[in-house]
Structure formats: structure tokens, C-alpha cells
Symmetry: D2
Subunit: 186 residues, 4 copies
Amino acid sequence: MLERTLHLLALSGSLRAASFNTALLRAAAEGAPDGVIVTLHDYRDVPLYDPDLGLPPGVERLRAAISAADGLLIATPEFNYGIPGPLKNAIDWASRPAYRSPFAGKPVAVMSASPGPIGGARGLQQLKTVLLGMSAVVYPAPELAVGGVGEKIVEGRLVDAVTAERLARLVAGFAAWAPGARFDVA
Amino acid sequence: MLERTLHLLALSGSLRAASFNTALLRAAAEGAPDGVIVTLHDYRDVPLYDPDLGLPPGVERLRAAISAADGLLIATPEFNYGIPGPLKNAIDWASRPAYRSPFAGKPVAVMSASPGPIGGARGLQQLKTVLLGMSAVVYPAPELAVGGVGEKIVEGRLVDAVTAERLARLVAGFAAWAPGARFDVA
Amino acid sequence: MLERTLHLLALSGSLRAASFNTALLRAAAEGAPDGVIVTLHDYRDVPLYDPDLGLPPGVERLRAAISAADGLLIATPEFNYGIPGPLKNAIDWASRPAYRSPFAGKPVAVMSASPGPIGGARGLQQLKTVLLGMSAVVYPAPELAVGGVGEKIVEGRLVDAVTAERLARLVAGFAAWAPGARFDVA
Amino acid sequence: MLERTLHLLALSGSLRAASFNTALLRAAAEGAPDGVIVTLHDYRDVPLYDPDLGLPPGVERLRAAISAADGLLIATPEFNYGIPGPLKNAIDWASRPAYRSPFAGKPVAVMSASPGPIGGARGLQQLKTVLLGMSAVVYPAPELAVGGVGEKIVEGRLVDAVTAERLARLVAGFAAWAPGARFDVA
């Protein structure tokens, strides 16, 4: 059992209403073990990155949410073998100053879902490179890359028992590992 | 000499007014050989990718510009070792349908500039993976990754002769190679 | 029809006798269109890369074979999401001097096969980055990443008609595209 | 102060006698804090990966050394923007069975050195992807990518004070972080 409540912030790589990855994160929240709270953060109000804009309200909200969290869960499709633009854009806003941003030292677990057989596994590699590039700590358990998600998530509900069990195991494992893996940027 | 005018579309990875990469593309346009026209496209009006939005006007404009071009020049900083969010976002909108989008078969040359010594070279690798993932044809000449750009581009003007010469060579080489490398998606 | 015979050199990412990827290349050779000859090259005699060794005979043989070819076909599993060590080792020996090696300007098509659903698709991204890093020209058609290969290649023979048809299309498309895409290193 | 001695295994990405990266690891061993022992492992006797060979003695020796270590230090040049073949080959031998190999759950810190300005920074990204692909835990502090190493390491000795200080900080930080970040593969 965890000594205190662990707060995980969840970011979805897709903004569409019927997103499989957003649904996966909702299922992660529901299946989280006692003492772990998963909160989905909608970053739709974050504008295209342009430092000339200063610090828009949506960006401040995102940065504060990351800073306050004990760890992050990111579920994302791959777009063109890479990170979806809106997710990368939100990450970029929250990544300043370099190596000392809200991401620095923060444990992060990544997963993906897509209709095809590859399940978004290529995009996850670019995402992990970016996370390490901000000094985030990447959870090293085997990735959950859910292929054929159209049959596993139906009307926004995760209905596949094997995936649900793998997802619950990932969240529980991450919650147990994250506090010790945290990294203090000197 | 080229048989007909070659139209290259230029995309900058940075939206800020004083962007080094935008300045690099302006210098590329000025130094282009006879018969090659480089046109900078501002994609600031492209919203965050969300297929629920349909096809917004800024996206249609971007897609039409890519379709009409004989090739693309992209100059971009790296953000967190990856592609800047706004650029990736614009690419994602223009990448549908997969493997048959305006990018499919289109020759593309990439370059980067940044104040540090690495010059954005890590981000270019993710960009090239994404371009190939859309069946674009990536120009294989050694990358122009301009480090220490703060002394080479001053008040928006490229003042470094060595970089100017490498840039002119890259544009001329790309213009000569692109027509034959084009790829017809079956 | 091609004007003259096109010689493609084939490299397998696996050295084991019963390799699926080697079998895929044999099938590519058998299904090649008229005027295209695919020759498998065994690089088992290439030692671990160490420039202190000079130019060992196996390396000279590999370099000569790449230089003589009109293009390359590489079929490889992914090992730990990356390029198998023996294949990367052979590539490294053939990559000197940088940007002017036997690989420079040479068209290359990549494919992969593996028992799992992802089919080696992650490793192909690292391979394409490495190829472009040597100024090779990467064929941009959608990748052939054969998942579940255990049922498609049996006793060293490709028995899956859909895969055979996709493979034949890839080789024919590559052979048509490669001559024009060749790139002369200045 | 550390409670007990921490044993770090060091792997160099280059086999040549005068390797800058091997020299960097020797300097890391000398500058390690009290209670941290860094042991360089020479994997020159590991043959090209071929599962038909069974488990050659050099491979058993490498696997045992990784298993016994509390963490790994890897210093490597980039070869063609990727991992040197011999290093990748050694990693591949030590990576079986997938996700449960001697690498699984093991903390690893990476660094690189090269004569050029980029310092091997592109190759480190492929290395980190591979390490995470084996469920190793990647140290997230900013990378030590030593450019212009020809003036910093002379006759096998690290003579640059700034690099020496950054190296000592990296080893000390890694040693403090590694025990808590270890990950138990279920």
C-alpha cells in the first residue's frame, strides 16, 4: 500500500471527442489502485507555441498541473510515425526553461492505441526521446501499444479484458516505481 | 540550366517574429539559382489538429500550397530534441489521407539553426522519420545544421559567408535532384 | 520496361540460417521483374568494426559489392527496437569516408519481418535515419513490415500471397524509381 | 554518503586503442566519488550476433558482468547518426530474453564524445530508445555530449577541467539516483 495519495496527471495525444486514447486514460483512472488518483487534463486552450505571446492562461494552467503532479500518464496515437502536433505543442510550452521545466525529474509512463496492428509503437519512440530531452524520467516497463483498438474500445468504454488487465498492471507498477525514480535537477 | 521554373515551398519551424530559421529561409530564397522560386508559407492560421473540425481554411490553404509545389524546404529549430509542435501540427493536417496526402512523393530538403553547438541536428532526425512516414522523398545531402546561429544571422540577415555558400549549394543541389526523385504513389 | 539490367544488392539483418528476413530477400529475388537482378550478400566475414584493423578482406568485398550495385534492398528484424548489431556493424565498415562512402547517393529500400504484430517497424526508423546519415537515398513507399511472419514464411518459403504481391510491387516500384533518384555527391 | 559500495559497469562504444570514449570512461572511474567503483568491460570477444551459435564464452562473461552491476555507464561515439555496430551487437547478445534480460530494470547513464561539434548527440537518441526497449532505466540528467574532443582528451587523458567537472557531477548524480530508480520486472 502507498503511504500517501499519488496524483497522476493524464494527457491524451488526441483532441477528438471520440478519441481511443482519451478513453484509455479514462479507463486507467477507473482502474487505478487505492491511493492513486488519475486526473485528465484538457490542453485544448493552449495556443500554437510562439514565445512572442508570453505565457497564455492555458499554458499557465498546464504548467501548474504538471508541476503539482507526482507523475504523468500519456496515451497517444502516432501521427505520421511521430507525436501528434497538438500534444507536442503543449509539451513545448511546458518545457521552458530547458532541463529545469515542470517536466524535469518527473516520472512519465507512456502508452498508445490505434486501429492498425502497430498500435502507435513508432510514435512512442519519438515521445520517449522528447521526454528524456526534458530530463523527465521514462517508465521502462514494456509499452502498452494497443493495436486493433476499434474492437477493444467501444463507445468510449474499454471492453477488452486482457487490455484492461495490462493497463491496470501498468498504472499500479508505475505508481509503485515513480516516487523512488524522481530525479532532483541540481 | 533548368528547363522550367521550379517552385519550392518553404516552411519555418518557428513562429516567432525574429526566428533564425525563418531568416534562413528568406536567405535561401534570395540565394536561389535562376529558375528556382522559393515562397515562404505562414501556417499560423492552422488550428490545433482535431478531425472533428473538418477542413479549416488555413489547412486548405496549406494543403493547396504543398500540392502545387515542386518540392519543400523546411528550416526548423529542435524543440526538446524533436519537431516544434506548431510545425508538426501543420504537417499532421496536411498528411491525410495516409500515404496519399499532398506530401506523398514530394521531395523535401531539411535544415536547422540554433544558438547552441548542436544546431538542431537531433530534431532533424525526427523530422526525417515523419517525412518518410508520409512517403515524402528526403533530400540526402549532408544536413545544414547551423550552430551558433546568433553570430551568423544578425537582425534577420544571414551575414556568415560560409553558411551562405553552403545554403546556396544545398538549394541548387536540391533543385537539380528533386524532379528526378519525385515518386508517384500508385 | 527498363532500358538496361538493374543490379540490386540484398542485405539481410539476420545471420541465422533459418532467418525470415533472408527468406524474404530470396523471395524478392525470385519475384523481381525482368531486367532486375537481386543478389544476396553474406557479410558474416566482416569483423567487429575497429579502424585499427585496416581494411579486412570481408569489408573490401562488401564495399565493392555496394559500390557496384544500382541500389540496395535491406530486410531486417528489429533487435531491441533498433538495427541488429551485425547489420549495423557491416554498414559502419562501408560508411567511410563520411558522406562519400559506397552508400552515398545510393538508393535503398528497406523492409522487415518478425513474428510479432509490429513486424519490426520500430527498427526500420533507426535504419532509415542511419541510411540518410550516410547520404543514401531512402525509397519512400510505405514500408513492408511483415508481422506474424511465422505463418507467412514456412520452411524458408514465402507462402502468403498478399505478402508476395506487396513484395513484388515494392521491388518493381523501387527499380523504376531508383535510377532517377540517384544522387551525385559533389 | 552511500550506504554500500555501488558497482558500475562501463562499456565503450569504440574498440580502437586510442578511443576518446574509452578514455572518457577511464576518467569517469578515476573521478568517481567514494563508494562508487567503475569497471571497464572489454567486449571485443563477443562474436557477431547469431542465435545459432548458442551462448559463446564472451557473451556469458558480458551477461554476467551486466547482471552483477548496480548500474551501467556507456560512452560512445555516434556512427552514422546511430549506435556503433560492435556496441549494438554486444547489447543484442545481452538482451535475451526480451524484457527480462540482464538489462531489464538496470539503471544506465549514457554519454558521448566526438571530434565534431555535435559530440555524438544524435547517436545517443538511438541508444536511449534501445535501452528503454530492453526495459533498462535511462538516467535523465542532461547528456554529456563532448564535442571537439580532440582538444579535451590528449594522449588518452582528459585535460579539460570543465568536462572533468561535468563528468564527475554526472557520475555522482547517477550513483545517487540509480538505487531508487531500479525497476523490478514482474
